[in-house]
Amino acid sequence: MKRFIALVLITLMMFGVLAGCGAKDNVQIDNNQSSQGNSADSTKKSEPTKITLLMTETGAEWNHKDTPNFKQIQKVLLDKFNIQYELETALGNEFETTVTTRFASGEQLPDIVNYRYPSEKLNELYKNGLIIKLNDLINQYGPEVKKLIKMRPLVAVANGDREGNILRLPASYIENPQHRITVLHVRNDWLKKVGMDGVKTPDELYTAIKAFQEKDVNESGKPDEVLTGFGNLDFNMTIGSAFGVKYMVNAADSWYTDSNGKIYNTFLTPETKQYVTYMNKLYSEKLLDESYITQTGEQYNEKLYNNRIAGCPGPWWDGVLNSQRVSDKGFDVEYIPLIPPLSATGKPTVYLKDLGGYGGYMVTKDCKDPSAAMKIINWGYSLEGSVMNYYGESTLEGGDYYKKTTPLEGLKLPDYSMEYTEKGKAAIKEEPLLWTKMGWNAEFSPKVLIGNADSIAQEFFQAFGVEKCGLAADVQFNKKGLKDAEFTYGIPAVNFVSPTEEQTEKWENYTDLWIYMDEQISKFITSVEPLSNWDEFVAKCEKMGIKDATQIKQEQYDAYKKIMSGLE
């Protein structure tokens, strides 16, 4: 009897386990759902349509879905479109692995995934039926999307395939110098202490940091003032560009073009060698933080709050934010952005980030209602949606934290421009990470903001105030500095169309090559590999097929130029 009962229970358990492993959902994807109607909010269903977005989590104290702005956006989407909008998140540093594994499983995918895959991966997802093309949805439900594409055809080219299928849409399309430029920030108060008036060249930067250590400007009793950051990428943009390095991210994506339109990989140029030699010098003399490649946010903050950071690369506003954070710990601090950027060649440059947009909303095959997904994106691209995402305010007149901007003299601002109210100013002073806490400018809903240097100058100065920021908050400095940075020094990124299937297959053979190149650059900088082996490094890359890889990119670039010349 006992055996019989045990057998029955075990059999039930086995069936339960099998059911849990589950059959696939039978999901019907119908792009021509006429029941949705044409207007955004005319049709109400009794049950809200549930749409889930998978995106990164910042790892900050506040999760996206708990922020007031996300809850507000949820309410708006429910009221307007009868859509129950939900989030699934994963931490940023592991997000690619998480989302790729989800796609590989092929089952129970979220409705929308926000991730900017390279174009060959995007194509692969589409060809294997894991994501759907968006053209029909845009035509039926996306007037705001159509407006953006008409204004900026690159959005369609950079987010689609060669056949003209649009496979994703940017989560953020912000055409603003602030979001396109990374600059190097240095301690202006320390420069004054050592008798230097600004830093214009890499040699001056070296001299400055050396002087900071020799004169012990932070009075710690040891030479611990350092240049630091999070890996090579930001240094490539700010110090690499000083040597004429054009576009250097990871090896597989570091391509630029010469004046004849010939594509080359930026890792192997003489300019990169000069840059790497310089970085190695900084590293060997302990002027560059030895843990800059691997440090965590906590380790960075520890250095910041212990008044050790002589300089760091970052977005435009980073220096001011750091100034404020360190000042709150009792130090009198002024970080300033280096504009014009450093230059060893006499021609300062910064390279501008890709104008195809940030992030990428992909609608997956398991989306229960693709038209609902497109309505969310379309609403996000509207002025109302973009303002709510960026400022958290429900009208252009503002509310609790923001109000309509009164432009400073001589500035012409976009329609959506807002400034802090007194409550907003107090709040940002108390909590420098207020934006994260409130869920402002997060990618859980998309936005399109076409701005200008004037709007950034306005926001910058009014957010932080001149007494905290000194030179960096000066309106004219900002306006001129940003305009200078983008329009005088800015060099645009190079874009490519998606690869063919044959090219994608060939590209698989180069995985070892990219890993090797990425590792070697870090090894040269950190003295694990002597710089005398540079020629050997270049020769090995050629042996591993860099020339063939360059040919593939050349064809993609030529095809891109052809498409863009047809569109323009």
Partner: protein
Amino acid sequence: MLLPTIMLLFLFCYLPMYGILISFQKYKIGSDIISISGNTEWVGLLHFKTFINSIFFSRVFGNTIRLSVLNLIYGFWVPIVFALLINEIRCMWFKKLTQTFVYLPYFISTVVVVAMLMSITGTEGAVNKLTSLLGVEPVNMINSPGHFDVLYVASNIWQTFGYCSIIYIAAMASIDPTLYEAAIVDGANRLHKVIHITIPGILPTIIILLILSIGSLLGSNTEKILLMLNPKIVDRADVIGTYVYHVGLQKGKYSYSAAVGLFTNIINFILVFGTNIISRRTTNYSLW
């Protein structure tokens, strides 16, 4: 009554093995592993050849073997010696207290262990503070290729020796006590009893665990190495597990990483098989 066990084993251990077929395909995410319509692209041993011809093969293979052998040489005997020592303790409360404390590190998460390592061995850490008193210049050991082996092996031993000694303690408990009594009568001291009774008594257990350890020679504590990995030590620390993670999961080359995993498992199986045969012929003890 064996039926449920067999069913569980079949469902969770054997049935998923069909996924290993992607090692012989050019698998694309979202496509079927076995396609009736014939869309599957079979490539035979291509991925195995690619791995063996890869410039990283000698590095990852060599590092994996080196770290496993070091773990074996320095780590295998520690739980045995500890078990022998614990077995000799007569004060029960002290014995239990010691056992409790040495088991605890096993349950600390790998992430916490690596964070502790980074903190202790960093330039401002306790180790460097001690060595600087002796006039030695501080070294950030976690970034130092020369220190990686020591940190990895020592932290592995610290974490696992207590827990692994449980098996040996259990084996010692099964030794007939009358043997010890007879030894006392014959005038044996503690050392004689350990050498002539305890160690021979647990020898089958030692041999079986040695066979299993050799069988996982191409495995390694991938999670720990992944957390410790950085460009400065990558030549010393990159193992098969971390290579599979970077290439397979991060770069999405599932077929290739499955092939690498299968390659490793085949070699491990050959090692277990071979060691088992040698052990059976030399010592009469074996797994099967």
